[in-house]
Amino acid sequence: MEIKLPHLGDGIDSAVVLSVLVSPGDMVTKDQTILELETDKAVAPIPCPAAGKVIAIHVKSGDTVSMGTLVLSIEGDSASSTATAPVASAQAAVAPVSVSSAPTPTPSTGPLGSYTFESASGAEPPASPSIRKMSQLFGLDLRRIRGTGNGGRITTPDVQAHLSHLQFVAFQVPATTPAIAAPTKPATPALPDFSKFGSIEIQPITSLRKKIGQKMSDAWTTVPHVTQFDEADITQLMALRKKYVPEYEKKGIKLSVTVLLLKAVVDALKKFPIFNSTYDEANGQMIMKNYFNFGIAVDTDNGLIVPVIRNVDQKSLETLSADLSTIAEKARTRQVSLEDLQGSSFTISNLGSLGVGPFTPIVNTPEVAILGLSKGVTKPVVIDGKIEIRTLLPLSLSYDHRIIDGADGARFTREIIAGIEQFNEEYLKGN
């Protein structure tokens, strides 16, 4: 049985093999992770769609692969004979796409990025009708393509060179984006020989760990972080939850405080849309997002992953509860697909279950803000001159000071707290 790569997720055409976790002769079980792939979005484990013995491995670390690439041949356990991987949309039965480990062709002409066609008569760039139609279908702006034909006419090879150039540039992004390139990283000094001081043990780290490390240091060096701490009184929220728990239980839904918090936060985000944006420093602009997709930081055996709940603003508490359980289950069973990891516009990191206080979360770039939730603590609080016992939830909001100032950070924090403390009961009814 041949195992081919499934659909990797919308907008992901290819990925690079980071590591192959099985060897020929290994027995694999269904859903066992066989590969780790790296895209510009994340590292994703690829589970095996069927159990059996590995006969051959067709890819190696560093290969560029895409949907339909043949990755593994296994034998045995022929009960499941179709090569469908459960990750993502499970449509792996397509013609194999050739594995390419060759480097992306570099454009033969010089830098094209700044070229723009201009004509005194206002005419469009000279190009044949078929090339103009092609440009419409590909969404290419012919004015950005330098024509080499007679009278500057754009020829088919000109379009090909331009496309190669675009692809080249696209794959060069980490090296050319000033935001990342600017702080020149000092060379890592050589490590001392620790064995001189006592016994040591070398342990390899996973590629997911490497990816997390790289991402965190990129975010840390690029984003000037500010973290705003505060506390929200969740006594009332917990009482509300308690009131509705039986009603939700009847439908088999576990109503958590977290789910209520998602709703309160998304309402605050709508009032402060800059916290749901991306700072496009290269082009000197902000990208405001009209969708509210929350990344939910999840702790797994292999390290941190951040699956996404989409359209939080449009979903009922019932749906959000179901989404949260699905994410948790997928993370536990290593079934999170690349698609599940894409498209968040704001991230929440909840360490409450671990019983700790405030912390300084790192912004999940290219987002601009992240909200950390800690353990709710019962405390005496002075209300109207009287001491009352209330439950307070520590909030830690980190944000990108390049585009968000401290006052807005404070206002947004207050808005979240207000949403939590005066939680809209309609959300609980309207499911």
Binding site: S121, A123, P126, G151, G152
Partner: protein
Amino acid sequence: MSTHSVDLVVIGAGPGGYAAAFVAATHGLTVALVDSDTNLGGVCLNRGCIPSKALLHLAKLIREAESASHHGVTFGKPKIDLDQIRTWKTSIIDKLSGGVAHLAKKRNVTVLNGRGLFQSSTTLRVDSPNGQSYVTFKHAIIAAGSRPALPSAFDLGSHRVMTSTEALELADIPARLLVIGGGYIGMELGTVYSALGSKVSVVEAQSSILSGADPDLIRPVVKFSQTHFESVWTSTKVQSMQSDGKTVKVTLANETKTWEENFDRVLVSVGRSPNSQNLGLENTKVQLDDRGYIKVNSNLATDDPSIYAIGDIIGGLMLAHKASKEARIAVDNIVGDPTRFENPIIPAVVFTDPEVAWAGLTETEAKAKGIAIKVSKFPWGASGRALTFDRTDGLTKLILEPGTDRILGVGIVGVGAGELIAEGALAIEMGATAADLGEVIHAHPTLSETLMEAAEVYYGTSAHG
């Protein structure tokens, strides 16, 4: 009552509509084509381009036979058999219309004869003498075309006042014919009736006939009409018209005087109006502009996402080949290829004697828009081919972009200009330069050489210019 469920319904079986239906069918869509005329092909085929060109062919034969006497060949006076001409003309229409019906059948396009009325954005009712049927559709393309405008002041309810539709029926050869409107339709039909023996007068409100075209291209046509027509009154308006016995009395006025003339028939050719009424568009989200044309975007989609519109009904140049191209763009978009109708090069041909044709930018347009151009002309007096049939009253010119020598426009007047313009359109569409055109070998002796020569004149290397 029957109901059809299709991917695409096309309303109007003219050159836009039938092209849309057939192209969509080749893409695998199920298609219904609705037209109230049992003869498919629309105005162009039944009441426009095709019958007028058949009659213009006869006009040309008559003129050439006359002029042959200057070259030593003399024919007798031609005998005109109107019945036979009509039969011949009808046979051409039948052949082409039958061809369209045959192609529809071959491509499994369902043809529904009847008037299409939108009930909603997904349903069309078709009213026919045999009853009603309904078509539910995913997409619709409106290609219902246009009809000759007949202002109420000219509509005397008399058969003596004709539009192009009646003029092409050729009921008789009026002794005196007045053509109101010196646009291409009036000038073409005037040419026909004049050759058949009518004394033709043209009245035009603008200062020139065929206004809008470059003056140097019009000049030979003006000269022809001055020679062969009884009168050409420019800057003149028709004040009123009334029936007067077996004639029509027309009051004409220009800046200096007002006078009356009697004509046996009057042809009103003052423009065309879109057939956008009575389509049930109020039951859709389709919007019209203030002149009744359907509003579309560059993908030819209307304000109703499931409905596209093409051809005369969206305005612009009311030409069959524009509609046919738009048909392809609309179908492209429906099948998911987002092509656009942008900066199109639409050749225009006036089938007068001589023919006038242009494509791309004209001198008139460049002047109006303040676009700097260079113009290179090759008069046909130096064309050996033109001399061989004694028609040196032609001119070929290139409109060029200074600096790049790119061909932005081509204008031609002369015998066969309508055929010659194709090379001009190709040159513009390909982004060719004058040098490209000059480098291409053109067969000798042909009129196509005039395009090459015009390019060579520009570089001062012409052998004959």
